[in-house]
């Protein structure tokens, strides 16, 4: 078990390192470097000044050398400053992480709460009209563009009905709740389809097993069968598959954050990329990737921990 965890952790670290290298090289390819931005802000700077500034910031060195320098600093916990916020990138992201969590976590839970009962229901009546209706709804859920769903719900609830705010963070606890209702619902609706399909497939697999037939023959009720036999066994593949959806969760959260003006990780990343705030963009992407990889690893480990049949080397 320990060996497996170390191996997986090492793999995740390698991926993270590769992502940081790739991002660093890409950021070097983005329009304008920090000195260009300084020049555009101050017309009195001469080209000699610019050259001196480039030297001072180390921008004249080859990009790979700069990456190693950044990496050395990063390993000591020094991730640099955000140009736009004039604060350490980590401090900016520290606030953003909580906003993202407040959107993503309830949405994930709501999506599972929607998906699991309907997935079980569909699996229990394979081929029936209920199954087909549920399947079609799942398909529509995973086909709708999240941002369009958001726009439509903003129009309906904020413009037409005026029940909910169109966006923003909200003041106080109840204000925050009010501002979270739409983004969380949009995100949950767009995630539910995938989870529903997973649940249905996993439950259908279990329903074909001999022990289910035995339980049925012994007269276990339909609900009892689902709750006692199918759900616990179907939960295992569901956990692994859900772990793989964390990347999609972050992608969806990003869209929702932009549309509903939530100052979370996705919004910060998007603004940083558009505003040439390289340090912040780099650290935001790294953090998002790291969170996804760790979540993935946790899903795999909990799978192994929950299933006594699996012994990890």
């Amino acid at each position: 078990m320990l060996r497996y965890i170390t191996q997986r952790l090492l793999e995740s670290l390698i991926v993270l390192l590769l992502v940081s290298l790739a991002t660093y090289l890409l950021l070097g390819l983005m329009p304008g470097d920090p000195v260009d931005l300084l020049i555009s802000g101050d017309p009195n700077l001469t080209s000699e000044d610019a050259a001196r500034l480039r030297e001072a910031y180390g921008l004249d060195r080859p990009i790979f050398e700069r990456y190693l320098g950044w990496l050395g600093q990063a390993l000591q916990g020094e991730f640099g400053y955000s140009r736009h916020f004039s604060r350490p990138a980590v401090v900016v992201l520290n606030d953003a992480v909580w906003v993202t969590l407040s959107v993503a976590a309830p949405a994930l839970i709501l999506a599972l709460v929607l998906a699991i009962p309907f997935g079980l229901l569909a699996a229990g009546r394979q081929g029936g009209w209920l199954d087909q209706t549920i399947n079609l709804s799942a398909l529509i859920s995973l086909s709708l563009p999240t941002f369009w769903l958001a726009i439509m719900l903003i129009y309906l609830f904020a413009v037409e009905l005026r029940w909910l705010p169109a966006g923003g963070m909200g003041e106080g606890f109840s204000g925050r709740l009010e501002h979270l209702l739409l983004p969380v619902s949009v995100l949950a609706l767009s995630l539910a389809g995938v989870f529903l399909r997973f649940t249905r497939a996993a439950a259908a697999e279990v329903l074909g097993q001999d022990y289910v037939r035995t339980a049925k023959a012994k007269g276990v009720s339909r609900v009892g069968l689902m709750l006692r036999h199918v759900l616990p066994n179907a939960a295992l593949p569901l956990i692994t598959l859900s772990g793989l959806q964390l990347g999609a969760l972050f992608s969806g959260t990003l869209i929702v954050e932009i549309l509903f003006r939530q100052l979370g990780m996705g919004r910060v990343l998007y603004d940083a990329v558009l505003g040439n705030d390289y340090n912040l963009a780099l650290v935001a992407l790294m953090l998002t990737t790291a969170a996804t990889l760790i979540g993935n690893l946790l899903a795999d480990l909990s799978h192994a921990w929950l299933d006594p049949r699996i012994t990890l080397r």
């Binding site: 793999e11 070097g28 329009p31 398909l139 529509i140 772990g243």
Partner: protein, 327 residues
């Protein structure tokens, strides 16, 4: 309700005779073309989806011609007639610059479908190459490639695509004119989406390739001195066509979603290009005044992606005799 459940499968079970000929079918996927078509026809939704996609493709490609038949120029700006409601002349009304919304949608469909198809084919090519290499070589190459695929699947794609889209092409050595052109934006988008979209295909192709390579007839071919390349082309490739078609159909839908969201965020296509995502980006600012402008492009995206998914699922069932027999 319990009564209806057994009734509907048996009603459908009465019809299919297609599984009979499929048993004797020599084709790679175990079912002759006519049987596959019949299997597809038995799924009305999937069939409708294919018809819809075909009609959309034809209408989009001939959009300019259709518009000229009606005497409408879909790119003509008419500010006196902006945001007009639907009328016999303009079926869906006009947009914020007074252009005909219906034909703008069809022109947008041209772009969205072209980008979707091109990127999906690119992703299929990358995925096939990686899947075949992994399946053929096995060993450490296989585990390296499959680990990379796993990592790729887990990554948060949209944040990565946003960073990738912001790359300044002039710094890659392209001239300012080339980098700033509409075509460059489109090609960049196609390449980007293809670069992240190959994972499902790679997995499917690898699985199919391994299955085929373990067959006795492949062993026989090897014993008779066939080269690896010949075995891949003659024996493995025909066997992966079915999963490949399914995966590509499904990924066209995914790609259209990626295209629309990136264009919506202002990072995909050139602002001058009429694509569904760009139209939605424009409509978002005037949502209060003209909600219809946001409604139709979104419906177009949703309908196309749903159709691609339905068609993909239908093709999967039609290609796989095991799945249709269970039903």
């Amino acid at each position: 309700m319990p009564g209806s459940t057994p009734a509907s499968p048996s009603a459908r079970a009465g019809k299919p005779k297609a599984s009979g000929p499929s048993a004797s079918g020599p084709s790679a996927s175990g079912r002759p073309a006519s049987g596959r078509l019949r299997a597809l026809l038995r799924q009305p939704l999937a069939f409708l989806a294919l018809v819809f996609l075909a009609l959309l493709a034809v209408a989009s490609v001939s959009a300019s011609w259709l518009a000229s038949l009606e005497g409408i120029d879909p790119s003509a700006v008419d500010l006196f007639n902006a945001m007009a409601p639907p009328s016999p002349e303009h079926w869906l009304g006009t947009d914020e610059l007074g252009r005909d919304l219906f034909y703008r949608l069809l022109l947008g469909g041209q772009v969205s479908l072209a980008v979707g198809l091109a990127a999906a084919l690119g992703a299929a090519a990358i995925g096939t190459l990686i899947g075949l290499t992994a399946g053929e070589h096995g060993g450490w190459i296989d585990s390296l490639l499959m680990r990379s695929t796993d990592a790729m699947i887990a990554l948060p794609l949209l944040p990565i695509l946003i960073v990738l889209s912001a790359v300044d092409l002039t710094k890659l050595g392209f001239s300012t004119e080339v980098a700033g052109s509409e075509q460059a934006a489109m090609i960049r988008l196609i390449i980007l989406v293809a670069l992240v979209g190959w994972t499902t295909t790679a997995r499917l192709v690898r699985a199919a390739a391994r299955e085929t390579l373990a067959q006795d007839y492949v062993l026989a071919a090897r014993a008779m001195g066939a080269s690896s390349l010949r075995i891949l082309l003659r024996h493995v490739l025909p066997n992966i066509v079915a999963p490949l078609v399914v995966a590509t159909t499904l990924s066209v839908g995914q790609v259209i979603l990626f295209e629309s969201v990136l264009s919506f965020l202002g990072l995909g296509l050139d602002p001058g290009t009429a694509s569904w995502g760009r139209m939605l980006a424009g409509a978002q600012d005037i949502l209060w005044d003209a909600p219809a402008l946001a409604l139709y492009p979104g419906l177009a995206i949703a309908a196309t992606v749903i159709a691609c998914n339905l068609a993909g699922d239908g093709l999967a069932a039609a290609f796989d005799p095991r799945r249709s027999r269970n039903r």
